[in-house]
């Protein structure tokens, strides 16, 4: 617990909490128009009293756009990671706990899928399905699933070989009870740690996809999309890229710090 309250853990947790609050609450209190209103006299303006983070090429306020864009980025990342856990968890547990032929077939497939770079897989799926918000979630979710399934399988396999599982089996525990009482609680720490770190990767992936125009599409606003829009104005208005870029970086940093400390506390076996 003391390590949890170390500087790194506290800063990480604070960043994650603040970003979550912004993502959840900002849309309730800040009207959409703040982010879409165009101030034609102040296009590509640097930080001023009126626009503390400056404005973009259409004169829209970058502060409000970043704050309101948080919802899209965080929501896409969260939903994608959730999706990969929901698919990866049963696959990983079945593979690791029951083993045998199912395990061989599933893991051969997972290994093959891992040969595809996650971003390439996500981009391809998104391009094939047609880029929009829902398909971005699906694309990232599918791209992350093999990785999570592999991790969960390894954990399930490790736990399944523990003496307390054997003792429970000798005590007449059925497979379903075993998974619920013994396997799940003991692989949960690893899933939480991996989920946190995957969340960081998912935010990066969403930004990458949107940056390439194969993720979120206007009028939805996300951080990656803002960076993409800034590309043509880098020379004259670098802050249009720096502001959303910093938002991505700080959120991911917070998640990584939080994940590192979580790992030390919950799951001291695995290496970063």
């Amino acid at each position: 617990m003391r390590r949890f309250l170390s500087g790194k853990g506290l800063v990480g947790a604070a960043i994650v909490l603040i970003m979550l609050l912004i993502a959840l609450l900002a849309p309730l209190f800040i009207p959409d128009t703040f982010a879409t209103q165009m101030d034609m006299r102040a296009r590509l303006s640097g930080p001023t009293l009126n626009h503390i983070f400056g404005t973009d090429q259409l004169g829209r306020d970058l502060f409000y756009r970043v704050v309101l864009g948080a919802q899209t980025s965080v929501m896409i990342a969260g939903a994608a990671v959730l999706m990969s856990i929901v698919i990866g968890l049963p696959l990983g547990i079945i593979s690791g706990y029951f083993g045998g032929v199912i395990d061989n077939v599933l893991m051969r497939l997972v290994d093959t899928l891992l040969s595809f770079p996650a971003l390439l897989l996500a981009l391809t799926i998104s391009a094939v399905l047609g880029p929009n918000l829902t398909n971005t979630i699906i694309a990232i979710g599918i791209a992350f699933t093999p990785f999570l399934a592999r991790i969960i399988r390894g954990e399930a396999l490790r736990v399944a070989q523990m003496p307390y599982v054997e003792a429970a089996r000798a005590a007449g525990t059925t497979d379903l009870q075993m998974i619920i009482r013994h396997i799940l609680p003991n692989i949960m720490p690893a899933i939480i740690v991996q989920g946190t770190i995957s969340l960081a990767f998912a935010i990066l992936a969403e930004a990458g996809l949107s940056f390439l125009g194969l993720g979120t599409q206007p009028p939805d606003a996300s951080w990656g999309l803002m960076i993409q829009a800034s590309r043509d104005y880098l020379d004259i208005a670098p802050w249009t890229a720096l502001v959303p870029g910093a938002a991505v970086a700080i959120t991911v940093l917070g998640l990584n710090m939080f994940g590192d400390v979580l790992r030390d506390v919950l799951d001291p076996r695995t290496d970063p």
Binding site: P163, Y164, A167, A171
Partner: protein
Amino acid sequence: MTPIVNIEKLRVTFGKGTDAAVKDVSFAINPGETVCVVGESGSGKSVTSLSLMRLVEFGGGTIVDGRMTLQRDDGPIDLAQADGDTMRDIRGDEIGMIFQEPMTSLNPVFTIERQLTDGLRVHRGMTGQAARERALELLRDVRIPEPERRLKQYPHELSGGMRQRVVIAIAMACEPRLLIADEPTTALDVTIQAEILALINRLKRETGMAVMFITHDMAVVAQIADRVVVMYRGDVVEEGPVADIFANPKADYTKALLAAVPRLGEMRGKAAPEPMRLVGDTSAPKPLTPQDHPEPLLEVKNLTTYFPVKGGPLRRHVANVHAVEDVTFTLNKGETLSLVGESGCGKSSCGRSILRLVEPTSGSVIVDRKDILAANHRDLRLLRRQMQMIFQDPFASLNPYMRLSAQVAEPLRNFGLASGSALQDRVAGLFDRVELPRDYMRRFPHELSGGQRQRIAIARALAVSPKLIIADEAVSALDVSVQAQVLNLMMELQADLGLSFLFISHDMAVVERISHHVAVMYLGRIVEIGPRAAIFENPQHSYTKSLMQAVPIADPAKRKLEGDLNFRPIPSPMHPLSYAPAQSLYDTVAAGHLVLRDIERTTDANP
């Protein structure tokens, strides 16, 4: 005589605000003598030895007080104050050290030659041919066969015993005047332990070096010590010549330590098992009443378990590990049958096969007239109510995320034997039964000590009122005093509930104390089986004899010499699919005392 090393008022801490690991330790080591530093876990014995080498700092420790005077050729030096360069000169040259884990003591990516000659290069400036010749000489000194070939090998190509010999050779390279051995035989099988102890004794005699030997095992102390230093929680509680310590211990802690140690041979002429002696209990141990008309409970016939070895891209079945090979025995109601043998002999696999935690290849297992191996999945679950298991590692055998009461209650809930307040009462009763306070019920495993966890494991096994408990090295991981308490609890439960134990162990002295019958296993087979007295007093099979020969006895008058020991390495139990093992055939020595007919020759013919 000036001591080689004189430790005075040594105090070592790890981090601020923690108790000192070593509080106020003083003792001396004279030239040519073996000093055993003995104590249970947490006594500070290893920290003392690491402090002497000033290696304790690499583990986060700090020497806060005291002096450690080493006699060098040019006069005495205080090691506690020595600088880094001086310490590097001393380490490996004047003081050599060997450690507990031979499997991890050698660098896996360097050859044996490189690791043997490092010290020679640093301290003697020897390289090339000269170093190689010295390395060969060292390997011959520690009796490693084919030394020329070994030099080019990597550590993983050597067995555990060989590696420990190499580690000793490394420590001996520059002929140190002091050898520190930190539990060097704890991780080894008993035959290899005997060889290593005899080797250290001989090297000490031949070179005249002093030895500081750290151990928790009083039997090992008896085998090797000239003088004994007993440590407890960071302090020295007693010190003296080995004969005095064993014959006339003064400190209460030493008495307790000695009392709890079973001595091989002390059960000679006794008909029934006896509880272990405990601290402060001076009354003569009450023997368990022997069974008049034993009824069989567990009948194992021709049990065979192979583990498939898979290979190739399609993970085809390419070979088998013959873990259990044609094993037959009977365990009676209310009795204990011990399976003994060294690591890899198949004793654990045999226990797990009986419970079908691993699937046996063939044979039959009858418990209370029902065939376990013929049962389908559903029947097996019900049959398992008759038999439960206790595992070796007290830290891994409990689910860390489940309350203790829930873990003990789990078998009862699974079989619908109790619910609601009745369940709580049953669980509370089980906690009483294993002598744990009831307020432990709401706790989690990490709040308990190793011995307490083993009690929980026993309570969980008892929950469904089984007739048979398979105890797989159930007390091996415990300190000797705790081990005695847990063993006594098991024997008490046997007397009260008529339980049968299949006791799987490598510890011959414990087995002698608690068993009615004993089966000795080697390479998957039972080589000898019979009543306890027959096996221990009249062993017939050559392997049983060498096992007895190897067991260290907690009596300094009964030491073993290197010449007495000549053990053959155990061959691999892995065989190609085409391998057809010979049947196990036995000769009857006396009623119930069977000895395996010599099939080793046929076994060797099919590598």
